[in-house]
């Protein structure tokens, strides 16, 4: 593969101008440095405008409305599906289901394919580093069906052992292997295609949580040969309220519907109902119309800049932050070396609680996340109650990464013990 050309300083400046929110200041009056992108990204005006356009110029409900606005909206909605199908190289638009978000997508699989195929004693394999969205639905499925959830551990260097994956697959013969393409805490990226092919060899169905991958790299579902892939709009410059469930057509066809209502039926009577064809089958009710148009605008935007170039840019920033942090006494970086991860740097300070770090960084204008980042099992396995996370995206700059490292030193100073004495008021 060719090395993509890096984003130039001028390009990043141009990109930043497309995100008006980046010009603002935080409560303390400091200039904003937004490093909370793994929780949710910002969006360019092209995405915001695409949604406003829809509402201002051609909106009506979709699906069989026989009038101009409805036909235009339906065309835009289905065009958005096509854009997303191209974004992940799905072999058919019918394989792309619009949902309310990655969490809704995973729950859809758990409550349809899961309820249909799992029973007492069956195993779901996942990893200890999953987001709660890729754990709790399986716990719930286990409660309903009696199946078991097995967690693949993480190695001491915060990576996964593919040998262990193989061993677990052979030992537990799971019906499903559900794993994240990139950890939202560690930044670790397992070899997705390899894991899928290993799973295939023991006839396990695979679900790839692409929430932290789709915004940063091409998830080619055909090349990966994934059975299910999920991700959210708001983590890839798109709107809230929308996510994608990709599923292989044959699988989706074989599954019962999930939510019942308008749009997902072919026929309803007092006795029962017949299900519609894909993709309608899984899109009950008025869908997130403007949001679908928004996520398509986001996919277009990212594609125009080039996902590979975005990933490279993040990688550069991540290296600055990661190596800078490692030089600071008392800092423990939680995650592999930057060459093995995406644009995420998590860490902890022995002497300062994550909430205090985040709070103090905010007063310097820097937005990061502190806590368990919806990965309690991972944190427990690492014997941490919380960590602090900086996560980069295309609009962040090397200066921000450097400023972040110095800010951590300032935080340490702020909370250093200085022999203070409590005085009663």
């Amino acid at each position: 593969m060719n090395t993509p050309s890096p984003l130039s300083h001028a390009e990043v400046e141009k990109i930043r101008r497309e995100f008006p929110i980046l010009q603002r200041k935080t409560a303390s009056g400091a200039k904003l440095s937004f490093l909370d992108n793994a929780a949710s990204t910002q969006r360019p005006t092209s995405v915001i405008d695409a949604m406003s356009e829809c509402y201002l110029r051609y909106y009506a409900n979709v699906h069989r409305g026989i009038h101009t606005l409805s036909e235009e909206t339906t065309a835009a909605y289905e065009e958005a599906r096509k854009t997303l199908a191209n974004f992940i190289n799905a072999s058919s638009v019918q394989e792309v289901i619009f949902t309310a978000g990655a969490t809704a997508s995973i729950n859809t699989v758990a409550r349809t394919w899961g309820d249909q195929n799992l029973s007492e004693g069956d195993v779901i394999l996942t990893t200890i580093a999953e987001h709660h969205a890729n754990i709790v639905p399986w716990h719930q499925l286990a409660e309903r069906t009696g199946c078991k959830v097995i967690f693949l551990p993480i190695e001491d260097d915060f990576t996964f052992s593919t040998d262990l994956v193989k061993e677990y697959l052979e030992r537990f013969r799971p019906k499903l292997f559900a794993f994240t393409a990139a950890s939202n805490v560690l930044g670790t990226k397992p070899p997705v295609a390899r894991w899928i092919s290993l799973a295939r060899s023991v006839d396990a169905i695979t679900l790839v949580d692409g929430s932290q991958a789709a915004p940063h790299e091409t998830l080619d579902v055909q090349q990966l040969d994934a059975d299910f892939v999920v991700f959210s709009g708001h983590k890839m410059c798109g709107p809230t309220g929308i996510g994608i469930l990709y599923g292989k057509q044959q699988l989706l066809d074989s599954m019962p519907p999930f939510l019942g209502g308008g749009g997902m039926i072919q026929r309803v009577s007092v006795e029962g109902f017949e299900t519609a064809e894909l993709p309608d089958k899984f899109e009950a009710g008025t869908p997130p119309i403007a949001e679908a148009i928004g996520i398509a605008a986001a996919a277009d935007y990212l594609t125009r800049i080039g996902l590979d170039r975005i990933a490279q840019h993040e990688h550069t920033l991540c290296q600055i932050a990661d190596s800078g942090l490692r030089l600071i006494d008392d800092v423990e970086v939680i995650g592999p070396h930057p060459c093995d991860k995406g644009g995420i740097v998590s860490f902890s300070l022995n002497s300062v609680h994550a909430h205090d770090i985040a709070h103090q960084l905010d007063s310097l204008g820097i937005a990061v996340r502190a806590g368990h980042h919806c990965t309690m099992p991972l944190h427990r396995a690492m014997k941490k109650t919380s960590t602090t996370r900086a996560s980069f995206y295309l609009y962040n700059t090397p200066e921000e990464a450097e400023q972040f490292v110095s800010a951590i030193e300032a935080v340490q100073n702020k909370f250093a013990k200085t022999g203070r004495r409590r005085r009663s008021r």
């Binding site: 069989r64 101009t68 235009e72 339906t74 065309a75 072919q266």
Partner: protein, 150 residues
Amino acid sequence: MASEQDIYEEHVLDHYEDPYHRGDLDHATHSHEADNPLCGDVIQIDLKIGADDTIEEAWFNGDGCVISQASASMLIETIEGKTLDELRDFSADEMLKLFGPKLTPNRQKCCLLSWRVLQSAVHSPTNDSPTDDDDLPEVNFGGPSLGEES
């Protein structure tokens, strides 16, 4: 995006008001009926397929919107005398072209109903059918899917 042409052009209304071979065909060799439950359009097609795999006679019956009924009439008029091979090559796009005025995706469903029924009819021998003919070529079947309105 939507068509600005009047889809109810004279030719269409003519077929609607004075359809070709609307009615039943006695001694049909093949027959099929289907509806589009989401619109309520219904079409039945009766065929007499000869020994040389030619459509000797075709009739339709139905109920529904102008597009579904006029397009059925046009289809029936067109296929008589055609061979099954020719029919197999008759795509959804050609059906839409036969109809004439440009249709939005929603109305294409109305127009393609008779075309779909025809695909099934050639595979649906009646009691009057000679029994040896059903290793027919696979007829291609595609076109837009049927969605429900809100």
